[in-house]
């Protein structure tokens, strides 16, 4: 009884599978070939910018790595802006004007992020200080 049941459920499973496989939806994998620019310099710039731009939908991924449709839109937008002759700064500004500083994976240095960038440097100076202090005292 149990065995036949198992067998039937397996068959149903396979029928179900053969149904779903015909309709695999559009899954895209980050940068796609049709997005890539012919101009290698432009493409490289676009890649570098997209690596610094956070995919706002998916959290903790850059738009360069993300499969989300919005990430793709933004990648294409960045490439179009580059083709229009905008420089990197203008593109970053365009994006932060609309999505805020959140979209930058590498935050700019401003009042909010001053401590973030400055503190590691302070740590290092302090650490070097300890080593020098030790060295001096040991002699």
């Amino acid at each position: 009884m149990n065995r036949t049941n198992n067998f039937i459920s397996k068959i149903i499973f396979i029928i179900f599978l053969s149904f779903v496989i015909t309709q695999i939806p559009d899954i895209s994998y980050s940068v796609e070939p049709d997005e890539i620019l012919n101009n290698q310099n432009y493409e490289l710039r676009a890649r570098n910018i997209s690596k610094n731009i956070r995919c706002v939908v998916c959290q903790n991924q850059s738009i360069d790595e993300s499969n989300a449709p919005l990430a793709k839109d933004l990648r294409i937008l960045i490439r179009n802006k580059i083709k229009e002759g905008r420089n990197d700064e203008e593109i970053y500004e365009f994006l932060t004007d609309r999505y805020g500083d959140f979209i930058l994976l590498k935050p700019d240095i401003n009042l909010n992020t001053f401590v973030l960038w400055f503190l590691p440097f302070c740590f290092l100076i302090f650490g070097i200080g300890i080593v020098i202090y030790h060295n001096k005292k040991s002699q």
Partner: protein
């Protein structure tokens, strides 16, 4: 029925654990022994029962229903036990009680005071986690209505590497709990008992460190082949949560050497031990409270967050206050020369701590900004690369020469003589590698030089067979050299090709030609897939390998995954990911040529082996006292 026994066992372990708090200090040895063993057995019992419930797919249990499915292979039914929040807490408790047992095993007449105090702290920690599990995350909760089948299990997590990743990490985190307990116990001693607390602490730190290393590496390996981005480290909060304790454990294990040899830095080591475990708990909090979002967040429940936070506040508040009051007893006035072994360890400690502080800052900074300004900012990979890498470089430079230096002061001319052979060796090897990859990026060249700097220093020491060198240390350092080589080459010289390809045509990457033979539908145990067949030829038209990337669909959970196909050898990985497409237009492909990536995994294993050697050596040392 069975679940009720499991629940009972969990309650029993709570009782044992509370008893241990009271008994450990003044109780008779026999009583303590019964309690410690009872605690171990009851927590093991509840863990095994949960595992049983997962194996037999008992869907009257909420935890099994939410995380399992009858079509799941046995291995993943088992690993599914700790693949979710509630079950992973049981594993955490089990590991805590195992370490508790080993601490008790060290008990003898001479150290009774230290060990009993340590056991008391350890049982306080255990009690905290059991209470948390029982009242906020009980895995034995019953369903209101029993279900036919479970909700399944995220197929991305159905993977052998991810099956063993959590247990390894937990051994690491919880190993640090033992260091924490020893530290609190030591601070509570009145310094008059001249007891070698550091000798007891060290094996636990070594275990924690070795398992954290291998656990993190396996997590990275999983991300590398499963996520299909060709990368393996993303500076995600979850990754940072394991990396920070690792950094402090690394610092701790080096400074323990100084404490052993020179009785210096005791206060610093005690503080490090406290912080390393506190960071593990804070990391758990960050990941499980839902306070920040991450690629792989666990459970989202603020009440759990509040509990862990209060628990952390008690642990940290008590231990750090104790440190503030008692650490004076352990201050000393020894100072280290820059050119000495202790000097190099001091530098290692300072730099590891700075890196840890920086990673911590980057991880929590968005939260701090949000709390104070209501703004949201992101701190991602570019920030961490820009800050951590430059601080790591001098640490690695010092690491190469540190083991060669003698204690106290060294003459500069003697140091030069000692390092001359490895300087030459480094130069030659680096020239070879850099000329192979013909890329003169500054960071790449620097990384390769540093990797060979470490490797050649260790080889020179091995050849000269100097005495007094710990084999474990040499092996581990060698592993770090391999690791740096792999990290540098794979991140600096990675080649990527994104293209659309029809069947029966080919594309090139590096010196390989990749031929797209065909693409088929295949049916797996609980998924269906499209599988591409690719043949890789080298320049001489010889077949190198066949690669078969897949796009899988799991109907139970309605999830699509990509299975990258990878061919590895000691020089490079070829990595193919299949994208969308159709017969007439061709298929999207992402192909990577990742140089030397295998050395990352080899490095991690070698480090782990080195750690294991040291563990056994230190256990022998323990027997002598």
């Amino acid at each position: 029925m069975v679940a009720s026994i499991g629940n009972l066992a969990l309650w029993l372990s709570l009782i044992f654990s509370i008893l241990q708090i009271y008994v450990s200090k003044k109780g008779k040895l026999k009583v303590i022994s019964v309690i410690v063993n009872g605690l171990l057995i009851s927590s093991l019992g509840s863990f095994i029962i949960l595992m049983y419930l997962h194996i037999v797919s008992d869907f009257s249990i909420l935890n099994v229903f939410e995380n399992s499915h009858t079509t799941k292979p046995l291995l993943y039914k088992i690993s599914g036990v700790w693949g979710n929040h509630e079950g992973s807490m049981l594993l955490w408790i089990l590991v805590l009680t195992i370490f508790n047992y080993f601490i008790f095993k060290l008990y003898n007449k001479n150290n009774s005071l230290l060990i009993s105090k340590t056991l008391k702290v350890q049982s306080l920690i255990t009690t905290g986690f059991i209470v948390f599990t029982i009242f906020t995350s009980n895995p034995f909760k019953k369903m209101i209505v029993e279900q036919e089948n479970g909700l399944g299990f995220n197929p991305i997590l159905q993977d052998p590497a991810l099956a063993i990743h959590p247990p390894l990490l937990y051994i690491g985190y919880v190993g640090l709990s033992a260091a924490f307990s020893f530290s609190v116990a030591t601070l509570n001693l009145n310094n008059k008992e001249n007891i070698a607390w550091y000798t007891y602490m060290k094996p636990f730190v070594l275990v924690a460190w070795a398992f954290l290393t291998i656990g993190i590496a396996i997590g990275a390996l999983w991300a590398y082949y499963e996520l299909g981005w060709g990368g393996w480290w993303f500076w995600d909060p979850v990754e940072n949560a394991s990396f920070m304790p690792w950094l402090l454990a690394t610092a701790l294990l080096h400074s323990l050497i100084i404490v052993e040899k020179r009785k210096s830095l005791q206060a610093w080591v005690l503080l490090l031990a406290l912080l390393a475990f506190l960071l593990s708990v804070i990391g758990t909090f960050l990941v499980r409270s839902g306070i920040l979002t991450s690629v792989h967040t666990f459970a989202l429940d603020p009440s759990r967050g509040i509990y862990i936070l209060i628990f952390t506040a008690i642990l940290g508040g008590y231990s750090l206050l104790l440190f503030g009051k008692k650490s004076k007893n352990y201050f000393d006035k020894n100072y280290f020369n820059f050119f000495s072994k202790e000097g190099s360890i001091l530098i290692n400690n300072i730099l590891m701590t700075i890196v840890c502080a920086t990673v911590f800052l980057g991880t929590v900074y968005p939260l701090i900004i949000e709390a104070f300004t209501n703004n949201k900012i992101s701190v991602g990979e570019p920030y961490f690369n820009a800050t951590v890498v430059p601080i790591m470089l001098p640490a690695i430079l010092v690491m190469g020469v540190g083991p060669l230096l003698a204690w106290n002061r060294n003459k500069k001319s003697e140091i030069l003589k000692k390092i001359l052979p490895s300087v030459l060796l480094t130069g030659i090897m680096s020239l070879i590698i850099v000329s192979i990859y013909k890329s003169f990026s500054l960071i790449g060249t620097l990384g390769v030089i540093l990797a060979f700097w470490i490797i050649s220093n260790n080889i020179v020491i091995l050849i000269k067979k100097r005495k007094n060198f710990s084999t474990g240390m040499l092996v581990s350092h060698l592993g770090v050299g391999f690791l740096i080589l792999g990290i540098t080459a794979s991140s600096v010289w990675q080649e990527e090709k994104i293209t659309k390809l029809k069947t029966n045509s080919s594309t090139e990457i590096n010196r390989y030609s990749i031929f797209f033979k065909d693409i088929n539908e295949v049916v797996g145990s609980n998924y269906v897939a499209l599988k591409g067949n690719f043949v890789v030829y080298d320049k001489e038209k010889k077949i190198v390998t066949e690669l078969t990337p897949e796009n899988r669909y799991y109907p139970v959970t309605n999830i699509y995954t990509t299975e990258a196909s990878i061919h590895s050898n000691i020089f490079r990985d070829l990595y193919i990911v299949l994208g969308t497409g159709n017969k007439s237009e061709g298929w999207v492909l992402k192909i990577y040529h990742n140089p030397l990536v295998i050395w990352i995994w080899i490095g991690a294993i070698v480090i782990f082996i080195g750690g294991t050697i040291s563990i056994f050596k230190n256990l022998e040392k323990l027997k002598k006292i």
